[in-house]
């Protein structure tokens, strides 16, 4: 059976076969515990873990000693935010973040709020970017931490981390960045970027699921409280036996990405632009989020007068995500698009295409064809398209509530 064309790389990526090859020996042949200091099994595992730490650090311009292994970006976000707020509780209890953040940030600050912290959730502009002056104004004398994602998972929009970080340094506020969607897509160097903590994930960058890291800056030294206590691994910041094979996988994945990033991103950009051009032949198509400050992998697009879930049904040979309510249990359309001021209609009509290392031009062409066919078919079925074609302004229609 032919599998659907995978255009959902922002959800997860396949593990690069070269990465798989590097991981396997660490499951049976070299199974030692990296924390075992008394024999060769442990020494070999520790060496592999430390090599991976260097590989991860190299991609982001960090010192290997600034990398703390975690189970993934969700844990890293929890550790950074809760850890910083707890350690610095004496300094204040205010935290600033943004409405378009990942749920692992929003739910974490929500939880902090229940335990007495104050949270400011910033709006974004129509293009998905933070208003820098609004960010500056939100920082108070008792603000301990600001948390902003580098690249948005739904729209691919890239925040101005350098500018936001400079404001934080200026005001003495810790700055955490969720970098899960940025690694391998945006070139950056933490040696220069004013960032105190950054969450990293392996599985968005051709590594395995279940492993990630938190970058914790050493100069200036950032201190946080641990969430998981035990053997004092990772300099006390995250206890738990290190999963050598996962760590080796993340290291190799980041290493390969670093070597090929430039050429790979140009190829992906070409494919994304081809997809956008092909789909733009349809009338009433809107790109969600800024097109300039966006990773080349992402195309988030709304097909007006077509509901997202029905569109997914019509393109069943393509694997993508929709911002429509119906694909989630919540019955609410994408909170990210709504925070950008997109109407519920357009949010319901949105599809996120995300392209990656193994996407081919043939797959993109096939996707254009399938999506266009499905959109045309559904518009034939759509009373809204009818009304739009008849020149009726839908915003003037009195809709029956339900």
């Amino acid at each position: 059976m032919n599998r659907p064309i995978y255009l959902d790389y922002a959800a997860t990526t396949p593990v690069d076969p070269r990465v798989v090859g590097k991981m396997l020996p660490w499951l049976f042949d070299n199974f030692g515990n990296p924390a075992s200091r008394s024999h060769a099994y442990g020494w070999a595992a520790e060496e592999a873990v430390e090599l991976a730490r260097e590989q991860v650090a190299a991609l982001i311009g960090a010192d290997p000693r600034e990398i703390v292994w975690t189970s993934g970006a969700t844990e890293s976000n929890n550790l950074a935010i809760k850890g910083a707020m707890q350690f610095h509780a004496g300094r204040g209890k205010h935290v600033v973040t943004v409405k378009t953040e990942h749920k692992s940030v929003l739910d974490t600050v929500r939880e902090l709020e229940r335990s007495g912290c104050e949270v400011t959730l910033l709006d974004v502009q129509e293009n998905g970017l933070i208003d820098i002056e609004a960010f500056r104004a939100a920082l108070r004398p008792d603000t301990v931490l600001a948390s902003v994602m580098f690249v948005n998972n739904e729209t691919g929009v890239i925040q101005d981390i350098a500018a936001l970080g400079a404001i934080c340094r200026d005001k003495g506020v810790l700055f955490h960045v969720d970098g899960a969607q940025a690694t391998g897509k945006v070139a950056f160097d933490l040696d220069e970027l004013p960032v105190d903590m950054m969450s990293l994930s392996a599985h968005k960058t051709y590594g395995p699921k279940g492993i990630g890291a938190l970058y914790v800056c050493r100069k200036p030294r950032v201190r946080i409280e641990a969430l998981i206590h035990g053997g004092g691994h990772e300099r006390g910041m995250r206890s738990g036996t290190l999963p050598t094979h996962q760590i080796v996988g993340m290291g190799e994945a980041y290493w390969l990405t670093r070597e090929n990033m430039g050429a790979e991103n140009e190829r992906i950009r070409m494919l994304r632009d081809r997809l956008l051009n092909g789909l733009s032949a349809l009338d009433q198509v809107f790109v969600n989020g800024d097109m300039e400050r966006r990773v080349p992998h992402n195309l988030n697009i709304s097909f007006n007068f077509v509901e997202g879930e029905s569109l997914l049904m019509g393109m069943k040979d393509i694997a993508v995500s929709s911002g429509s309510a119906c694909t989630s249990a919540s019955l609410e359309p994408s909170y990210v698009l709504r925070a950008m001021g997109r109407s519920d209609e357009l949010a319901h009509s949105s599809i996120r295409f995300s392209i990656g290392r193994f996407t081919t031009q043939q797959e993109v062409d096939s996707a254009i064809e399938q999506v266009s066919t499905a959109v045309r078919k559904l518009r034939e079925l759509s009373p809204l398209w009818d009304m739009h074609s008849a020149g009726i302004d839908l915003s003037t229609v009195q809709w029956a509530s339900h």
């Binding site: 007068f305 049904m313 319901h348 034939e380 759509s382 509530s401 339900h402």
Partner: protein, 134 residues
């Protein structure tokens, strides 16, 4: 999400898609839902002189279950009197299409569309002048 075979069938081959023009004789139009909620159904019935629904047409903006619910309803109302059509319950639609709980609102919307179409037809029969004006 897995769809039932019947939902898939109606999605792939929707029955009675289309519209009647407003000035045609014996037409009742029901439009329910809102774009902001992610579904809008327009159901039109064509009622004969004997008070029996001769034909029905629909257009729906919404998820696959909403499309299937309205497509199914166009089949079910045909050959029924207005009162018989009004007796169609959302639970029967949901059962026929094997809708999961999260999609029950689609069947409710389809039932509402029947009610709205019948009400519109009856209004037009009693006050044809206002229809002309509209």
């Amino acid at each position: 999400m897995a769809y039932s075979d019947k939902v898939l069938d109606h999605y792939d081959n929707p029955r009675n898609v289309g519209s009647y023009s407003a000035d045609e004789e014996g037409i009742g139009t029901g439009m329910v839902g809102a774009p902001a909620c992610g579904d809008v159904m327009r159901l039109q019935i064509k009622v004969g002189a004997d008070g029996v629904i001769e034909d029905a047409k629909f257009k729906t903006y919404g998820c696959g279950s909403a499309i299937a619910s309205s497509s199914l309803v166009t089949e079910w109302v045909k050959g029924k009197t207005l009162d018989e059509a009004l007796a169609i319950k959302n639970t029967e639609i949901a059962e026929e299409l094997a809708l999961p709980p999260v999609k029950i609102h689609c069947s409710i919307l389809a039932e509402d569309a029947i009610k709205a179409a019948v009400a519109d037809y009856r209004t037009r029969q009693t006050a044809p002048d206002t229809v002309e004006a509209a």
